[in-house]
């Protein structure tokens, strides 16, 4: 009796011991004290079995089966070890053969060159759950770059589990969700293609120490002002996170050659004629100029901007809607954007502009009409007689919304000293980017996207996505019927009949 109980316990003990490692993985919540209990119980049961069946145990241990058992155990472990080692080597080797006709899983030569010229290791942060098709596609794409010899790795960030990272990297789940990091710098992927990734790597390689100059000397907002509400200290910090260096610039001789962009942020005194001249030359040479204006202030740039098709109104935008009710009528809320790279992922996100003036996109001969980038709502209007109090809408002089608050102009400048494409972006407001307002609504996104676009390189590598040659299948009604009949009926029926025939023949034999 004791023997039988011992044997039953032994079998249960074996099950306990063998299932522990499997269950450890299956539960996936780390080591639990219940596992310890399971192991101890398993060991105790086997011990009990051994003690109650001493006779059998000693017979087996001394019998000729012992050699077999020992040999099998040792050789099985050896084979298993070799297989694990072989698999590990194969896993690390990354060796693969692309059998597709168009070599669709092989990187373009430009991508191979780019990834091999990376000065530092690159990490791709993908804000997707690791089981989504997007992540798996991206993981496979990154593995191609690694296979080509690049120091590049990828990590999935589950936005639901790590919301703090989503905030840290300023990710909008409906916008670009992939960040490519190299050292302190980071870039966003515009889509999940090889072209986008290679261009992001290229920007990181070239973008090291990209400098954006901020003019001084006309009462502009200060770059080093971290505390003052009007200061741009916060904006400077945000730019540094994107790998852009903000440098003050006193316009004297000429615009520095390494200028990725020049920003005029809220001048309160007018620019002098020669200064305007310099900025104009800079822009004609493929420069990137971003001008942030304020109402009730002459910047001296009005005529120059007009020659580029951007008119500056002498007004103050008044906006009375539910959003801005609490902030007063001079804070304009905007949720309407042009189709443009800068505002690509904005959808209906709000941006806030305290005390703004409106702009006009003008039709000028020989100049491509500029694009109004940000528009006010319909409730807003531009008050010309803003010095009077109280301010009321004057139908004869005041323009009704939607009014442009930001206008962007572009011009091809082949052979320009700075770049082959001049870009001019004018805002009718400066405050939205200052310490007091940059963190409000989507203001920092608008500012950073603008700066990034301004400082962006035009040259980019074009990689045609490779895909399999197109094919089609057009079936007549009879063909369709035949296809269905053959595959789901005739073929299995034939096989089943053969089975039945064999069965009957065997029965009768």
């Amino acid at each position: 009796m004791m023997k039988t109980i011992g044997q039953v316990l032994g079998a249960i003990g074996l099950v306990f011991l063998l299932t522990t490692p499997v269950m450890y993985f299956a539960v996936g919540a780390g080591w639990n004290w219940l596992f310890t209990v399971q192991l101890i119980l398993g060991g105790a049961f086997i011990l009990a079995c051994t003690l109650t069946n001493l006779g059998e145990v000693s017979r087996v241990a001394t019998g000729r089966g012992t050699f077999y058992v020992a040999f099998t155990a040792v050789s099985s472990l050896a084979v298993l070890g070799l297989l694990v080692a072989g698999n590990y080597l194969a896993y690390s080797s990354d060796l693969r053969l692309d059998l597709t006709k168009a070599r669709i899983f092989t990187l373009a030569p430009d991508s191979v060159n780019t990834v091999n010229e990376l000065p530092e290791p690159v990490e791709v942060l993908a804000f997707f759950r690791s089981d989504t098709p997007q992540y798996q596609h991206l993981e496979e794409l990154v593995s191609r770059y690694r296979r080509a010899g690049g120091a590049i790795s990828i990590q999935a960030v589950d936005p639901d589990r790590e919301p703090e990272k989503v905030r840290e990297y300023n990710i909008h789940l409906r916008g670009n969700r992939v960040v490519v990091r190299m050292g302190e710098m980071s870039e966003r992927l515009s889509d999940l293609s090889e072209e986008a990734l290679t261009n992001a790597l290229l920007r990181l390689t070239r973008g090291a120490g990209k400098r954006v100059y901020f003019t001084t000397g006309h009462g502009e907002s200060g770059l080093d002002d971290d505390h003052d509400e009007q200061g741009l200290g916060l904006a400077r910090m945000l730019m540094e996170n994107e790998g852009l260096e903000a440098v003050p610039l006193r316009i004297t001789g000429s615009i520095p050659e390494d200028a990725a962009a020049v920003v005029v942020a809220g001048p309160r005194r007018a620019f002098l004629e020669p200064e305007v001249e310099l900025l104009s030359d800079y822009l004609e040479g493929g420069g990137r100029l971003m001008v942030l204006l304020e109402p009730m202030a002459e910047s001296g740039l009005e005529d120059f901007l007009e020659s580029w098709g951007i008119g500056v109104e002498d007004d103050l935008v008044v906006d009375q809607n539910q959003v801005t009710e609490l902030m007063g009528p001079f804070v304009t809320a905007s949720a309407s954007y042009a189709q443009h790279e800068i505002t690509e992922a904005f959808d209906a996100m709000l941006t806030l502009f305290p005390t703004a003036r409106s702009l006009i996109a003008l039709d000028i001969e020989d100049v491509k009409r500029p694009t109004p980038l940000v528009l006010t709502g319909r409730e807003a209007w531009g008050s010309k007689a803003y010095r009077r109090s109280p301010i009321t809408y004057e139908p004869e002089t005041d323009r009704r919304g939607p009014l442009p608050l930001a206008v962007v102009a572009e011009k091809e400048t082949k052979g320009g000293a700075w770049s082959p494409q001049a870009r001019l972006l004018v805002f009718g407001d400066t405050d939205f980017a200052t310490n007091a307002w940059a963190r409000q609504a989507a203001n920092s996104d608008l500012f950073l996207n603008s700066i990034n676009w301004m400082a962006g390189q035009v040259e980019r590598i074009t990689i045609r996505p490779r895909h399999r040659p197109a094919s089609q299948i057009i079936l007549t009604e009879e063909q369709r019927t035949f296809l269905s009949m053959f595959s789901i009926n005739i073929l299995p029926l034939l096989l089943a009949s053969m089975g039945v025939a064999v069965w009957v023949l065997r029965k009768n034999r």
Partner: protein, 263 residues
């Protein structure tokens, strides 16, 4: 070698003179055709929509390889895993049940030759099953059209190579289980459970990160088919399936040796 081939021949004849292989083949083609026809239907609806909307740019990306054959290969893997246990179950347990195993072991035939002979037969059956499903790409080729052919054959054959390796590794596992028991039902059921386990083990990967995720995904048998289905042969995938085969064959061999010792 001669004895190995003799065993293989005897086994193949046994397969084709019993109804089970035909039943399994019929089941494979019914399920396979179901997947094939529904994927084809989806493809046609999609291209019809695109034509109606005048999206020629997107029509240029439509092809029967990506939209029908690649997913079909992945679906056939499921069909294969459900069918292999019923093809492998009789390999050794039948001998055990009929009592012919002892007889076989007392002849000069070495266990290695038995294992090899039986496995060759199993691979022949597997090849037959896969060959039957080749009718789907052949039908696409016959009725479809494209500048460079309706389907991309290198990719399709690469997918079938993957299916063969997956099936062969499943057969090796099935043969080992079949060597442990004299009941075919038990052998089939245990094999099915084991194969399903290697299939779903990757589902856990989404909960973990880093090395644990890589290990879990690596263990998953269908994960290794994805590259094959898309037209890529990766060393790690080949090594993975071959490892299962080696392990299965080795353990079967040990089990037979054990029977010889016990006899």
């Amino acid at each position: 070698m001669k004895r190995t081939l003799a065993i293989a021949r005897k086994e193949i004849i046994a397969y084709f003179t019993t109804p089970i292989a035909y039943v399994v083949f019929a089941a494979i083609t019914v399920l396979g055709s179901w997947f094939f026809l529904s994927l084809l239907g989806q493809f046609q609806r999609h291209s019809f929509e695109l034509t109606r909307m005048g999206r020629d740019d997107m029509l240029a990306h439509m092809n029967l390889t990506d939209q029908v054959m690649v997913p079909l290969v992945m679906n056939l893997a499921l069909v294969l895993m459900m069918s292999v246990p019923f093809l492998s179950m009789r390999l050794l347990s039948e001998e055990k049940r009929q009592g012919t195993m002892e007889l076989l072991l007392t002849t000069p035939v070495r266990p290695l030759e038995i294992v090899a002979g039986k496995y060759i037969a199993a691979l022949a059956i597997l090849t037959t099953a896969l060959a039957l499903t080749l009718s789907y790409p052949l039908l696409l080729s016959a009725f479809g059209s494209g500048d460079q052919g309706a389907v991309e054959w290198p990719t399709v054959l690469c997918g079938y190579l993957g299916l063969f390796l997956l099936g062969a590794s499943a057969m090796a596992v099935g043969m080992f289980i079949s060597s442990l028991t004299s009941s075919q039902i038990v052998a089939a059921f245990l094999t099915l459970m084991l194969l399903l386990l290697t299939w779903v083990v990757g589902w856990k990967a989404v909960d973990v990160e880093g090395a644990a995720r890589e290990v879990l995904l690596y263990l998953s048998s269908t994960q290794h088919l994805i590259s094959f289905a898309n037209g890529m042969v990766e060393l790690k995938d080949v090594v993975y399936y071959v490892s299962y085969m080696v392990l299965g064959l080795f353990l079967t061999h040990r089990a037979l040796e054990g029977l010889r010792w016990a006899a």
